[in-house]
Amino acid sequence: MSAAPRIGADAVAAKGWLGAHRWLLARRVCQLGILALFLLGPLAGLWIVKGNLAYSLTLGTLHLADPFVVLQSLLARHVPERAVVIGALTVLAFYLAVGGRAYCAWVCPLNIVTDAAHWGRERLGITGQGARLSPRLRYWVLGVVLVLAAVSGTLAWEMVNPVSMLHRGLIFGMGAGWFVVAAVFFFDLMVTRRGWCGHVCPAGAFYGLVNRWSPLKVNAAGRAACNDCAECFAVCPEPQVIKPALKGAKLGIGPVILDAACTNCGRCIDVCSRDVFAFGSRFAGDEVATRERAPPAGAGACQQSTTETGS
């Protein structure tokens, strides 16, 4: 436990508790709401949504499928039926629009578990990164998962994937799936800060790739007002993504967080007492009249410098 006031205290003082937890609450409502929709069928007999995150049918018409699972199935050399293809393309288009890793922050049920682990980590006063893992490990894992599917001809990852195991388990029965979920919880609690979502999860890596082109981004348009409290870094599940946008003004880097790892969770917006951050388009500029160069040509350069400063 640190002697310093709790993270977010300034924001609560400035914006009130609700104002300082707006996006967090919205996110929880979204996560639990989606889960509730899936559970209404089996628990209350109200069949609005059938299936699980791998594939679901809403009101008998809307097909939604997880493009990551469908990609594995394709690599396992199965040509799927139309329903799942339409579903996967729909979901892919949606996340291209709202930011791929919005899946991680707003939909994935495991996010609640890893957020809880992170909360516990702070409560226990565990500081620092813990076991050093590269945030790029997940891209390697993604590669390995796809190769495994191709080599084995089966959805090998789906036999151990804690994300689908948790969501499917809550709807169809967990069984020993709790052990896997508990393993992820303790990994994040004791071993590595933001270990699973921030370093290992190949689904996150996949949606991160989708993230590269999405127009909806968090920006630090009010960065001129930043008072260096560093609380955004403390709450961010992917802290390496903030620095270029927040501190890059002198280097000519735009205020938009373009790093593909950003989950659009909005915690930085909540926790900032100076309202530095906001959701906006990927082409957003600074709030101040003097617009910095951010548009497409600069976007690539930003990515570049992000990875350099991030490592």
Binding site: N52, A76, P80, L137, G153, T154, A156, M159, V160
Partner: protein, 267 residues
Amino acid sequence: MVSERKPVSDARRRFLADTARTGCGAALLGLAVGFHARQARSTPATALRPPGALAEPGFLGACIRCGMCVRDCPYGTLRLARPEDELATGTPFFVARDVPCEMCEDIPCVKACPTGALDHALTDIDAARMGLAVLVDQENCLNFLGMRCDVCYRVCPAIDEAITLERQHNLRTGAHTMFLPVVHAEHCTGCGKCEKSCVLEQSAIKVLPLALARGAPGEHYQLGWIEKEKAGRSLVEEQGLIDLPDRVPETPGATPAVPPALQGDQL
């Protein structure tokens, strides 16, 4: 030149070491998952796949574990495997002794499958082959003991086709007939109604996965009477009967054709 490159080389070395560490970590994880996946490839003898399921390795690549078949099964037959079950986590199966397949004519589970892991080409439930009933324990089957249980025969949706009762003289009583249930693979869909309704505490008739239940002759095996039927005539007779030469010692005193050990009884 060499001294100039020194600092760069340090950073590069660290980068390479980090990359190698990360790559090896991912590869290790992949090996573990691959090993686990390999083990989970075979299905246990008690678990049956829904109608229309692709053959096992293909099914595991096609099924995305969404559970739509489970949802649309009106009888609660199907379940998704949990991690502790012996087959691939999240895949659908049923245990005949618990809830057998009721063989719906419109096959809702197959229609619900969004991927085709349950083959949409299956439109006639009688053509489904979920497994094959095998009377595994003749010693405890009541009909084999000479009684008229007949339950498996009576509940079979393909009565008199998939299961028939073959008559045989009861040697024990010497005065009665035994009605022996015989399964015919040609008609058995593997629905499991027989296994479910067997009156014994442990079912004497069990539906096994096809791979387990069936034998297979070598491809070169030809059954003479079937070949004859196909050709419409005997394939052997017109070539003349094959007469193998009799093996007898050509000269007295040579090695005998019959081993000495057998000579006493046989000759």
